[in-house]
């Protein structure tokens, strides 16, 4: 390991004396680091004076690997970016490829992409809300949230055979059409999911201890959120109205009617609750998209297996569960991307941790880290 941490650091205090500062390594293998993040926390008693996230434990070089694969072969790699929301990375990448190769995606495929991505938003937010519960000690909340997530995963399994890495969105369309009876069971899920959300709202967000743990903790102002490039629920929790589905509309989102929930205080509670409220909106988007869904092709005509776009570059971004997820592609005319770069919202949001955690207790550090909802597959890439 390159980074050596001295276990104690001597700090000068007033009146000429010195005290020792306690350095705690939170992670890389720790129940609350949401994957493999290591946070070096400097403590004064239990107050965090400095928190330093050390990333890279999950670095697999996906951007580099993409350079040695054909455009179609890169799709499974993007699954492994944000493994809690694989559909987003699939979609963001495919949008960039489609822009690069000027492919027009059929309407039905666009609707299917919207449906699966809103389902993915619910699944991802359920993991965030559930682990917010686990971070503050409410294990039961974790299980309830995962129960909801599991039903989405079951639908995905039925749709494309995979539970985590879907490889569903492909350049030009999607890989499978809907199985029989899938729509009906999804609509039934939306109905029951709203009840589940109501219950979680009361059980967890209404609980006096949970509110005490999250309110006023890790406050991020709207100006700082913009300055640090935060996006997604982290920015919206601070009151920044920024949602690409509304403010840089893509796909069929302009035809759908939905609200963007905004927080006001920018604390952990608002970030968590914005996620909860977004799940209600996602349910409504799914229902509208299903109502507007018409039969048709799910894949654009004439997309060759070996795509070789003309030399040039393309960038496209979508609103993932974590924020603005962008993919930049450069083509040199060969069947392999010359360069791929991912703009990861989880990475930008994680950068806020040292600022937000300073001055809080060690117990707050894990709650703040959870409220940023980092997925390290996407942070480290």
């Amino acid at each position: 390991m390159g980074l050596d941490v001295e276990s104690r650091r001597v700090v000068e205090v007033e009146e000429g004396g010195t005290v020792e500062e306690l350095v705690v390594n939170v992670g890389p293998s720790h129940p609350s680091t949401h994957g493999v993040c290591r946070v070096i926390a400097h403590l004064d008693s239990e107050i965090v004076t400095k928190a330093e996230p050390v990333i890279g434990h999950l670095h697999r070089g996906i951007e580099k690997m993409a350079e040695n694969r054909t455009y179609l072969q890169v799709v499974p790699l993007t699954d492994r970016l944000d493994y809690v929301g694989s559909m987003y990375a699939n979609w963001a990448y495919c949008r960039a490829v489609e822009r690069l190769a000027s492919i027009r995606v059929p309407d039905r495929a666009e609707y299917l992409r919207v449906i699966v991505c809103e389902m993915q938003r619910i699944a991802s937010h359920m993991m965030a809300i559930g682990s917010a519960g686990a971070d503050s000690g409410a294990v039961t909340q974790f299980v309830y949230a995962f129960d909801q997530r599991e039903r989405i995963i079951e639908h995905f399994e039925e749709l494309c055979g995979a539970r985590l890495t879907y490889n569903y969105v492909r350049p030009g369309g999607v890989s499978h059409d809907l199985p029989e009876g899938w729509i009906e069971s999804l609509l039934a899920f939306c109905e029951s999911h709203r009840k589940g959300l109501d219950m979680m709202d009361k059980l967890f967000f209404g609980n006096v201890i949970a509110r005490g743990r999250m309110k006023g903790v890790g406050v991020l102002s709207a100006e700082e959120a913009v300055a640090w490039g935060a996006s997604g629920p982290v920015a919206r929790g601070s009151g920044v109205e920024w949602d690409l589905r509304k403010h840089d509309p893509y796909s069929v989102y302009p035809r759908l009617d939905f609200e963007v929930p905004i927080g006001s205080n920018g604390d952990c509670y608002d970030r968590g609750r914005v996620r909860l409220l977004e799940c209600y909106e996602s349910c409504s988007i799914i229902e509208q998209a299903i109502a507007q869904l018409e039969p048709g092709a799910i894949m654009a005509d004439g997309v060759p297996r070996l795509l070789a776009p003309l030399p040039g570059d393309a960038y496209d971004h979508i609103e993932s569960a974590r924020g603005s997820l962008g993919v930049y592609l450069v083509s040199d005319g060969s069947p392999r991307p010359y360069r791929m770069k991912v703009r990861s919202p989880a990475f930008c949001n994680l950068a806020l941790l040292p600022m937000l955690a300073e001055g809080h207790l060690l117990s707050d550090l894990v709650v703040i880290l959870g409220s940023l909802d980092p997925v390290f597959g996407e942070v480290d890439r």
């Binding site: 705690v24 519960g133 000690g137 409410a138 039961t140 299980v143 201890i209 005490g212 207790l361 117990s363």
Partner: protein, 316 residues
Amino acid sequence: MSGLIWGAIYGLAAGMVISLAAFIGVWGERKIAGRIQLRYGPQELGPFGLLQTGADTLKLLLKEDITPAAVDVRIFRVAPLIVFAPAAMSLAVIPYAYGFAPIDTGVGVLFFVAVPAISVVGVLLAGWSSRNTYATLGGLRAAAQMISYELPRTLSVLPVVLLAGSMRPLDIMDAWQWWWIPLTFIGFIVYFIASLAEINRVPFDLPEAEAELVAGPFADYSGIRWAIFAMAEYGGLVAASLFGAAVFFGGYLGVPGALGVIVFVLKALVIALLMLWVSWTFPRMRPDQLMATAWKVLTPMALIQLVLVGAVISWL
């Protein structure tokens, strides 16, 4: 000499009672937690999974007893016993049946609230001797937490002592009247919350705090030494619910003979179930919030209860 023999017999009995309680308690808790969390809990081994705890105990006994190289070996090894012994001792003064408490002493109530406080020394030593930052932080948290919660816990049982005019548990049972239940209800609530803190259960399991301190003072323990900590926790749960059922809800009173003991245990079971329900529903508090609850909410509540009972007594 006879005292020593009596003590040995009692110690054995208490150890067995706690083991049995932990045996059934772990199974019951896992079943209840399972139902709360939309799952079944243990169900494979034996009828309703009853033997699961036996299998787990066997596993813990056979596991290697790891002593990390950096620890202070002697303190590290003795700490689990320092935690366990007070839990077993506090069971001795509980009035189980009419005219029977293993140790019949005039200061029984004081004994019951004072002795479990010794276990904090064990937790602190476990944390300290582990030479592990998480464990040390957990041990220090445990010490701060116990000190804060001893006061409201002691104050919460005082109204009953005032009403009975004695600290001898058997005298309290003799003097017990049904209308004490509504009168001392605030006291019971304080006792209930403070007991949760005393036995380190969610929402007060700060020393362990899996989310931030992994397992706190117990992080470096394995096998049977870890199991002793877990058993001490169950012993504390059993003692707290039995004592609460006795002084706040009249224990075995009103039902004759052996049936009285069963009624007493059932009452204690209801309190224990409430504790499990709370700890599987609520999030964990933060250290500063815990202190604030102890000093700004529970202590004044206990004092109000004391004044209330004092007023009623002077009016009687």
